[in-house]
């Protein structure tokens, strides 16, 4: 299987890439790791007329911690995240999700930013980013803008980029105080997308109470979805089994899964609840460690 024909350019600077994207308009697509786009093109589910390959642009493969953010550049591969001590030190949810994205070979090529841009409701990263309150740094020929992840993830395979814009970086705020996070994913085998997955993040105040909570769900809605009621139930509370159970039940209500070959809706909702509770327990343990 292989894609229909297309035009191809491989710019060596971001400016050049942005110019090409602007010139080509809607018919052009960014090619990052290609681990979502190329399979879709091979199955002829996508047929962009022009591919702008960003892999030859230097300086986009950075992971750093600056100005209160953990920043991940557009050419950071999933596997770079697996291997990054900086990530492990700064964000538990990202660190725990990375090894479970796709398979080791796909992780060598696919990018976190590409995955965020792709907005596949079964993709892992957007849940993690929603729970971690990430921001997307978008760039075009007319400049840079910062988009809150909640505004970025619009719908099923739909983000809020304007034509001509590229995701240059995704960044997450560092924990204010003690924090921890987790990503629990139920997949059928390695290389499978999530059947159900839950990202959780907790931050504790000086008083030991929950100061901030992030919970987001994968594969149970038409996009990665924050369980806002569950988050609210936690904030300001002393961590406890009861409050985690309550949050878990609220998270399950935020899920609107479909029954399909992977399982029934009822069961998926149950898994959301179980994984939310377990994820919160893990996040708390990490925050307290």
């Amino acid at each position: 299987m292989f894609p229909p024909a297309f035009a191809y350019s491989a710019p060596e600077s971001l400016d050049e890439a942005l110019a090409t994207l602007t010139n080509e308009g809607e018919s052009a697509r960014v090619l990052a790791g290609g681990q979502s786009l190329i399979p879709m093109m091979k199955l002829r589910l996508a047929s962009p007329a022009h591919l702008v390959d960003i892999n030859n642009i230097p300086g986009l493969d950075y992971i750093d911690a600056a100005n209160g953010y953990l920043r991940i550049g557009a050419l950071v591969r999933h596997n770079d995240i697996v291997n990054s001590e900086l990530v492990t030190a700064h964000n538990g949810a990202i660190a725990s999700a990375a090894p479970w994205v796709a398979d080791p070979l796909v992780r060598n090529r696919g990018t976190l930013c590409g995955s965020v841009a792709h907005c596949d409701p079964e993709g892992d990263w957007n849940s993690v980013m929603l729970a971690a309150r990430a921001q997307v740094v978008a760039q075009s020929t007319s400049g840079e803008r910062v988009i809150a992840i909640d505004d970025f993830v619009v719908d099923f395979f739909t983000n809020s980029l304007e034509p001509g814009e590229i995701v240059k970086e995704v960044r997450v705020p560092k924990y204010a105080g003690r924090g921890g996070g987790a990503y629990l994913k139920l997949e059928r085998k390695i290389g499978d997308y999530a059947t159900v997955a839950v990202a959780t993040q907790l931050q504790l105040g000086e008083d030991g109470k929950i100061s901030e909570a992030g919970i987001a769900l994968t594969a149970v809605n038409n996009k990665n979805t924050r369980a806002i009621a569950a988050e609210r139930a936690l904030v300001g509370e002393e961590p406890s089994d009861e409050i985690f159970k309550e949050a878990a039940a609220l998270a399950a209500q935020a899920a609107e899964p479909e029954s399909n070959v992977r399982g029934t809706a009822e069961w998926k909702r149950n898994v959301v609840s179980v994984y939310t509770r377990r994820g919160l327990e893990a996040s708390l343990a990490q925050a307290r460690a």
């Binding site: 299987m1 292989f2 229909p4 002829r44 398979d103 139920l186 059928r188 085998k189 390695i190 290389g191 499978d192 997308y193 070959v261 992977r262 399982g263 029934t264 009822e266 069961w267 998926k268 149950n270 898994v271 179980v274 994984y275």
Partner: protein
């Protein structure tokens, strides 16, 4: 590596019992394997197939004009064109017919509708998307019982005498005797379950390169074939071409598992196209095409019942099955047995009465019914009986191991005549089970299970003590399309003492180039490295029925041993001549003849080989070559016990295999390393079936499981870490005591995994979950049980 059979030959000779490293590996590890897709011929064109997007429809029109007009497109072939050459339909291996390219209707999603021949594979695919077909959709049937319901649309209206969707009704055993057994029973245990549709999906898909020489009329087809000789004959029958002009070459095969037994439309279209165009044509399936159109396996809806007395003895078995055959009946199986060897369902247990009824039905699904790493429906049978036995133990209140023990056929009962007519050759089921239980530390595990339950943890122990039947056939009972299921070996010993062995079977990874050389080494003492094994070229190997249903070692292996022995007898005469002794006074040890009583006086097999071409006794034919066609007196019956330990997460239904112990008895092991490799592979496929691997359809007949994102093949991460051991009970009728082994583990293990999960939930009252045991099914079973 465990071996309890000790080699009789020294390592330099490398006969039976040595774990010889494989001869074939040299090319594979260097990327020099030669698979069908690696074949490049001068002027070769490429073919791609347009397939039906719908499961059942009338074809109103096919517009090929745009495709034909594309640059690089050489031809577009439709059913109409094939019909002009009388090739729109072909026979299946079950004597049914199958559309090569649809003319009237499409009957399953993925059916072949048209083909493009182009100068390059990319162009061929592009052009396929430029063929436009008008379909008028028809009602869709996706279940055999739905197919048999009153008023169901008749799928095979192309067949004159077909007025419903019934393919066959078949039965085996004694109904009256069985009814009496059930009438006398103290307890009856029953189960109803579906063995889901799956697909062998070897890593290499199917394909062919057809090369027709327009001048000589010679047709050479390189194809992914597990049975090249049978395929040549089918080709001759389908095309009417003279058989001597057809040469099937089955090059290296990237796994078969039954997928490469049938003849597929793609092979026929490519050959027809090459014939029409006069150039070689290559066709290689995509994975999706492989999964949606070529031979599926299983899809058996099964009911089983056991009659028991109060002590726990089995009195009889009853079973009824509905087989989903898809749109064309193309099981590759012996003509006489419509449900394959399903009637081996009585299993490893001794009771007098059994009755089996089978119904096959057409549905709007892909055809197939291949023996996926299994001997013709033995997998389904083994699964049913092992599930029944486990449940029977719960009902009687016995430990499943003790229940098995009580009912096993005893060693002294062999040869054992089963109530459905099999004659089991040999076995010691108790010994294999005890060994497996010992390795697993079964008693301790039962204690752990009890303790875990107290803490709310769910641990389960599953057993399967399977008996398989492999090595068809026995010409009295087994044939495919009338071709008797013998097999052949041609051995030529060259003047320098080196040998070439040619076989009618075809390895797909089983290591024939090594194993069969070892049989010759054992019998003639020629070092295994001096023996070349050739297979897969019909011009250069003797006729045989091919490799599937674990029949290579039982049948071709026997043929190899017999021809080796025949040549050894001739060698004895030559040796006698060389030593001026009487043949009767010679003693044989691997590699040499010596005169009885004076071991210093000897000639080697190499001396004899040279003499066979240079210095023969008078009245003896020159040469040391021969061919033998082996017609087995019976099948062989490998067996074993598998023990699986799982833990189920009660909150989600996710389960993990903690241990998997496999004790296999396949008689004498020719190459223990290769045998273990076969078992490890089979255990993995058994795990896949139990845990994740299935093809299902929605009510419109759309295939779900049409690629490797949906059809799940386990990776190294999920695959359990098997613990292997063996017992050795030779087959009494096989020349070297070997039984087949390539499939035992796929046949026997699914029940062990499922029994383990059921065992974890048995105290809640759970008795069945259909495969695959997806976590949601397990969780739902727990919820239902809790509700009562």
């Amino acid at each position: 590596m465990t071996t309890t059979s000790h080699p009789k030959t020294p390592p330099e000779i490398g006969g039976i019992g040595h774990s010889i490293r494989r001869h074939e590996d040299a090319r594979f590890i260097q990327g020099a394997g030669n698979y069908v897709d690696d074949i490049e011929l001068k002027g070769m064109l490429h073919m791609a197939i347009l397939r039906s997007p719908v499961a059942h429809a009338k074809i109103l029109s096919i517009d090929t004009s745009e495709a034909e007009a594309m640059d690089g497109v050489v031809a577009v072939v439709t059913g109409e064109l094939m019909a002009q050459h009388n090739l729109a339909w072909m026979p299946t291996l079950s004597g049914d017919t199958q559309a090569v390219l649809a003319t009237d209707k499409v009957r399953f999603q993925g059916q072949e509708v048209a083909a493009v021949i182009a100068t390059d594979s990319y162009i061929a695919r592009d052009a396929v998307s430029m063929i436009f077909v008008d379909y008028e959709e028809l009602p869709v049937i996706t279940d055999p019982r739905q197919a048999m319901a009153e008023g169901a649309v008749v799928i095979r209206d192309d067949k004159e005498d077909q007025t419903d969707n019934l393919v066959y009704d078949w039965e085996s055993g004694d109904k009256d005797l069985t009814d009496r057994a059930f009438a006398e029973a103290d307890k009856v245990v029953s189960i109803e379950t579906h063995y889901p549709r799956s697909h062998p999906s070897p890593l290499e898909t199917c394909g062919a390169v057809a090369d027709v020489d327009p001048i000589t009329g010679q047709v050479t087809v390189y194809m992914t074939s597990q049975a090249p000789h049978a395929h040549r004959t089918v080709f001759a029958l389908v095309t009417g071409l003279p058989e001597q002009n057809i040469r099937i070459i089955s090059p290296d095969i990237g796994g078969g598992f039954g997928n490469k037994v049938p003849v597929y439309p793609g092979y026929v279209i490519a050959t027809a196209a090459s014939l029409l165009i006069g150039k070689p044509v290559k066709w290689v399936e995509s994975r999706t095409e492989n999964l949606i159109s070529t031979g599926f396996a299983r899809d058996y809806h099964m009911k089983g019942e056991l009659a028991l007395n109060s002590e726990g003895r089995i009195l009889g078995l009853r079973s009824e099955i509905w087989s989903d055959q898809g749109a064309f009946f193309s099981d590759a199986q012996p003509t006489k047995f419509k449900a394959g060897l399903f009637h081996i369902v009585t299993g490893s247990y001794d009771y007098p009465a059994a009755h089996v009824i089978a119904h096959g039905a057409y549905t709007n699904k892909a055809p197939g019914g291949v023996a996926y790493r299994c001997s013709f429906r033995v997998t389904e049978a083994s699964y049913l009986i092992e599930r029944l036995v486990q449940n029977a133990a719960y009902e009687i209140g016995m430990d499943p191991a003790e229940f098995r023990s009580l009912n096993f056929i005893k060693p002294e009962q062999f040869p054992y005549h089963s109530p459905t007519g099999f004659v089991y050759d040999s076995g010691d089921y108790e010994a294999a089970m005890r060994k497996a239980l010992g390795i697993a530390k079964y008693e301790e595990l039962r204690e752990e299970q009890k303790a875990a339950r107290e803490e709310g943890r769910l641990i389960g122990l599953g057993l399967a003590s399977f008996t398989e039947v492999v090595g068809a056939g026995g010409s009295d009972e087994y044939d495919i399309l009338g071709l008797k299921m013998f097999d052949s070996a041609e051995l030529r010993i060259h003047p320098t003492g080196k040998a070439i062995l040619k076989l009618g079977v075809r390895s797909q990874g089983q290591g024939h180039e090594t194993t069969f050389a070892q049989i010759v080494a054992e019998e003639l003492g020629i070092p295994v490295g001096d023996i070349k094994v050739v297979e897969g070229d019909t011009d250069n190997t003797p006729y045989g029925l091919g490799t599937y249903a674990s029949r290579s070692t039982p049948v071709a292996g026997a043929a190899t041993a017999v021809i080796s022995r025949m040549l050894r007898e001739k060698a004895r005469k030559i040796a006698a001549h060389l030593m001026e002794a009487s043949p009767d006074d010679l003693e044989w040890e691997p590699g040499k003849f010596s005169v009885a009583g004076s071991p210093d006086k000897f000639v080697t097999i190499q001396d004899v080989a040279f003499a066979a071409y240079t210095n023969m006794p008078p009245d003896t034919e020159y040469g040391l070559e021969g061919v033998h066609y082996y017609d087995p007196p019976n099948m062989t019956y490998p067996f074993g016990t598998y023990v699986v330990v799982v833990e189920v997460d009660p909150e989600t239904g996710v389960w993990n295999v903690d241990r998997m112990v496999a004790v296999d008895d396949c008689g004498v092991r020719i190459n223990p390393m290769i045998v273990e490799g076969q078992i490890q592979g089979g255990l993995t496929e058994g795990f896949a079936a139990a845990a994740m691997q299935w093809i299902t359809f929605d009510e419109d007949g759309n295939c779900i499981g049409s690629n490797f994102m949906d059809y799940l093949v386990p990776t190294a991460w999920e695959t359990p870490r098997f613990e292997l051991d063996e017992t050795v009970t030779p087959s009494p009728h096989h020349p070297i005591g070997a039984k087949g082994v390539g499939e035992s583990a796929t046949v026997g293990s699914p029940a062990a995994y499922v029994n383990a999960v059921i065992d974890a939930l048995a105290h809640l009252g759970v008795r069945n979950i259909d495969m695959p045991l997806l976590p949601d099914r397990v969780w739902s079973a727990i919820q239902d049980a809790k509700k009562g």
